[in-house]
Symmetry: C2
Subunit: 274 residues, 2 copies
DNA sequence: AAGTGGTCTAGACCACGAT
DNA sequence: TCGTGGTCTAGACCACTTT
């Protein structure tokens, strides 16, 4: 990234009167003479990076509007079209949300549309049901090696371990174990979790400034262990859907590791391939 | 769709000398005066529809290049930018594939990149392994009511039923049952299937002109029935991943219904949420 | 009426691949 | 060298929302 927030477009102060705009050459010079093997980065992608940086450092909060395209264009000293293309990509990645006539907004987990992208369990018949969660555990511990590895922590770093049971219509259907980096979730307690109503990622976002953007999942069918079977009120050995999820925030930094066991007799995991 | 293939851009033959191009008004007039409640459809989306029609009727075959942006622009009597935006969306939906310097190509299941979007089973360690399939059945029958419903067929229409076992490293790991509309798959026999090497969707595409674009899946954990357990060489009741898939071709027409049972002791289903 | 994002055009130039 | 897609700009106008 050769364009810095301080001097957004480090370009030669060319005369604006120039008939043929040296557009692409500006991008090339801004990106510096590309070293052999260095990837060419178009202007709009650099602008995109700057916007992500601003999102990351919380310059605009989830739910808020970001500056208009023309504002950003003048701030970065590029044309509106270039800003537009940067925002287009960010909107396609669901980091931003465009609303014609109103502005462009930072996506938030407090909206259903965002929430259902990360909540894939659906009742076989009928509409989504409100889930209610009972917390079994919420404690701090040194990160187990596997957790440290996937969350990119050092061996001795602390993590928060959460265990909970989710029920649909008062029927227990999900067991979840969650690991979060302790440093980013100071003050997270069982009470905070219990008293909060709404999506968990919403809590992370508003209370701890950590926004989940993307997640990778590994899905398997497993037999219920005795303890899990008891919590879900099924026979030991009953088939359960196991989902291991690693969630990422801006710039692909991992911030959550989650293992869920799902009873799928009346619910299924929906997915779309394309 | 008010622009027809015959008269692509049914616009008033305005003088090209006009300084201020009546671009947007053209789109509006092309779309007709929108009835109250009728959605406004921008020009590039109408162009996109025309391109999809051409793809659908096989004007350009999978793997082939479509005409250049300038060619399409002059064919449709719009600017290159408008064609570009239409193609951008089609590329984002994986119907087309852009290659700088070479052209824009119709996506094909004979490419790995496309194939792995529909093949989500991955070994826990190591790289993807070639699967080999044994066909248990391939016969024609009247569509069962559930199949007829999801494939949008009439009650008495014929379907092809295929049953097969997939093995990784000679270890049986998947049982699949597939239903296809008989009318679109005339001449599909067990022999044709057995002698064909490569992805099944590739066969559908080149032999029957049916291109899979998108699929919806419902995923569950189930206990292995006796017959399935025997095929997979596991104990009855063993947990299996069950995936029900409905695949769609152009214009969202359903063309395949598939039910798979997966042994996930050494493999998992990978997914990315965003 | 003013401000925002959305569409459309036209033209210049760059990066890439084939010739 | 040429043709392809890719980037960038500038300007006009449309659609939607709020004032």
């Amino acid at each position: 990234m050769s364009i810095t927030p301080a001097t957004p477009a480090a370009r030669p102060a060319s005369e604006p009167a120039t008939a043929a705009p040296p557009a692409a050459s500006v991008a090339a010079s801004a990106a510096g003479t590309p070293a052999p093997g260095a990837a060419f980065s178009p202007l709009y992608r650099q602008i995109k990076g700057l916007i992500v940086q601003s999102l990351d450092r919380g310059e605009w909060k989830p739910g808020e509007a970001i500056p208009s395209e023309l504002d950003l264009a003048s701030r970065f000293k590029v044309s509106q079209g270039t800003v537009r293309k940067a925002i287009d990509e960010l909107a396609a990645e669901n980091l931003l949300l465009r609303r014609q006539g109103k502005g462009t907004f930072v996506a938030t987990h407090h909206e259903d549309r965002v929430r259902f992208r990360f909540l894939r369990m659906t009742p076989d018949d009928g509409e989504p049901v409100q889930s209610d969660s009972r917390f079994l555990e919420c404690r701090r511990m040194r990160a187990p090696s596997e957790v440290a590895r996937t969350l990119d922590l050092r061996g001795g770093d602390s993590v928060v371990q959460i265990r909970r049971v989710l029920s649909f219509d008062s029927v227990p259907a999900v067991i979840e174990e969650i690991f979060l980096p302790g440093a980013q979730f100071r003050g997270l307690t069982a009470e905070r979790l219990a008293e909060y109503t709404g999506p968990m990622y919403g809590l992370f976002e508003t209370e701890f400034g950590v926004r989940m953007i993307r997640a990778d999942e590994k899905i398997r069918a497993v037999a219920a262990a005795d303890s899990d079977a008891a919590l879900l009120k099924v026979a030991a050995g009953a088939p359960l859907l196991q989902i291991e999820r690693v969630s990422f925030t801006y710039e692909d930094r991992p911030v959550e590791m989650r293992r869920g066991l799902y009873l799928t007799t009346h619910y299924h995991y929906r997915n779309s391939l394309s």
